[in-house]
Symmetry: C2
Subunit: 346 residues, 2 copies
């Protein structure tokens, strides 16, 4: 399949073209950057939603419910499940993919898992690039689900238009999470398994912390007591404040039973409306474009230095001297860098 055929197939959302384009991008195969480059003018239609949280919070269950809700509204949905974890946890942290089977056969749904191969940084970049492919293919919603360990929350917040942080009462992460600055990167908080003890307390803690952060600790909106979905009117009110700051919703769900999921969908939509109206969407997209270009330069630079210049050879030639302590890695790196700065070629 040549690139024009691939692009045409992708825009028509043909499964074979989609699978091939993602595979090319994910694995950095020959021509992946020109492909992404060709997609660039078509981006920006999808709402990119990041879902993160600790292991066992119910991310896969909520994701499945959100997919069903979006589908019921007539939207196409792509799901990327990112596992930045080690072999210790296996796939377990991301939940059982089989639970997605209710949506797996729907042609309007696309599901893909991505695992860490090289660095986490590399994973984040290639996840963003796969999102671009899905965006160009016309998916209305892209859900990126990632387990909350390592730098994944930060990586998610940088790839998503809207970041949802999922917590559970029993994880005991409440206070620690609030203190840690992780709050800063979430646009939307959801307390799942809200029928369990401690759910109200966790919601209150989040609300209070949000209040303190806004500098109005004494005027914060009290958390709902018991399991109470935010009303449509309440959620709509959030989007109306397009001129002001985004008021972070703190919602409650019992994802396994589907309870509270509609309110999450509404809050996600409200956030997107706010993003657009407030100019924040444009700002975030511009920042992402800037960051992406940085990343591509970094990646290309490293590839150039090690694949096309004499740098690797220069290190091998001095290995005996390095071992004998006659030159340090820092001195040798300095020499190599000086040569590169002069425009050294192979």
């Amino acid at each position: 399949m040549d690139r024009d055929a691939l692009l045409a197939g992708l825009r028509a959302r043909q499964p074979a073209a989609l699978a091939r384009a993602i595979s090319v991008v994910e694995n950095g195969r020959a021509g992946f950057e020109p492909l992404l480059s060709a997609l660039h003018p078509n981006l920006g239609q999808a709402h990119r939603i990041g879902i993160t949280g600790p292991p066992g919070a119910g991310k896969s269950t909520l994701t499945e419910r959100l997919v069903a809700a979006f589908r019921a509204q007539g939207h196409t949905v792509a799901v990327i499940a990112v596992d930045p974890t080690s072999p210790f946890s296996g796939g377990a942290l991301l939940g059982d993919r089989i639970r997605m089977e209710s949506i797996a056969l729907d042609p309007g749904v696309f599901i893909r898992s991505m695992a860490t191969r090289g660095s986490l940084g590399g994973l984040a970049t290639s996840t963003r690039e796969v999102c671009d492919v899905l965006d160009a293919a016309g998916f209305d919603r892209i859900l990126v689900e990632t387990v909350g360990v390592g730098q994944s929350e930060l990586a998610v917040s940088r790839m998503a238009d809207t970041s949802l942080l999922l917590l559970v009462p029993e994880s005991g992460d409440g206070i620690q999470t609030l203190k840690s600055g992780i709050m800063e990167i979430a646009d939307l908080f959801v307390v799942n398994k809200a029928d369990r003890p401690g759910a109200d307390k966790l919601r209150q803690e989040i609300e209070i912390t949000l209040g303190i952060r806004r500098g109005n600790a004494f005027r914060h909106v009290p958390a709902h007591h018991g399991f109470t979905a935010r009303t449509k009117a309440e959620t709509a009110a959030l989007a109306d404040r397009a001129d002001g700051e985004w008021k972070h919703p703190v919602l409650a769900t019992i994802a396994a039973k589907g309870e509270g999921v509609d309110a999450v969908v509404e809050a996600l939509d409200a956030h997107r409306t706010w993003l657009e109206a407030s100019g924040t969407m444009r700002e975030r997209r511009r920042r992402r474009l800037e960051e992406r270009t940085h990343e591509v330069v970094d990646r290309a630079l490293v590839r150039w230095v090690w694949d096309e210049t004499a740098a690797a050879q220069a290190i091998r030639e001095r290995l005996d001297d390095l071992e004998a302590g006659q030159v340090s890695p820092y001195e040798l790196a300095g020499t190599i860098l000086d040569a590169l700065k002069q425009g050294a070629r192979p």
Copy 2:
């Protein structure tokens, strides 16, 4: 303190000089690379031991016991506790530092925690550099304790002379760990909490997998039944096979009671003896020197491009075009890279 005074203080293991040198290196402050460069000829005396495993395996407890055992032998010991995890887990995954209090006041012991700030790759590099400082300061043993999530196992195996993987029966990681290739990076396996159910089974699984890997599945050494420390003679026999492959010990401990810890110390020493005698130590150190130089070049390259050239400005100037889809991040990165390759200056 100028560099010569710092170096002199460091070699005398003065606490103030040590703290200052580590701080300079860990935070990448001005002059950190020349400092590391000056230390380079003095490296290679310490035995660098990595200890990794899943949360709750008892890494801190074992570490504390190992420190006490090394101290009883008259060795100085440095401990670096690396937390590559997110705010979700807080410091909890690495265990309570307070448990180290029995050793914290011993002037022959140095303990330092390091947390993820930037990328995990960056953490791994700076951990290795802090190890260099401790090595140059004359510590006989450097223990690097890291929780088994993310890419940390791999990072540990690359920084340590000897990698110890700590497992526990109840973690249920047995089979998954064995399948996952994580085995490949450990030199020594320890089943902790060996008085709990499943300890024998886990040890057997490890032994069998090791046997299969060696291609002699039918001749593998059977696991000990019940809690039985490997005898001194058995451990010594391992080191004798300097001409052959390293036979990975699979030990059992109850670290909380100190049981089996001496055998772990013996196996660690035996592994170092084997490393030296077999030439593997030299090979590993050479590979590490090569990798380190690569990393330093990469780091310096990125710093150069973004701090000293016009690359960042070039992106900012084209941000409107990026947003309008008139140029893609890939095309723009290509232009910037071409300029850099020609030896473009600020």
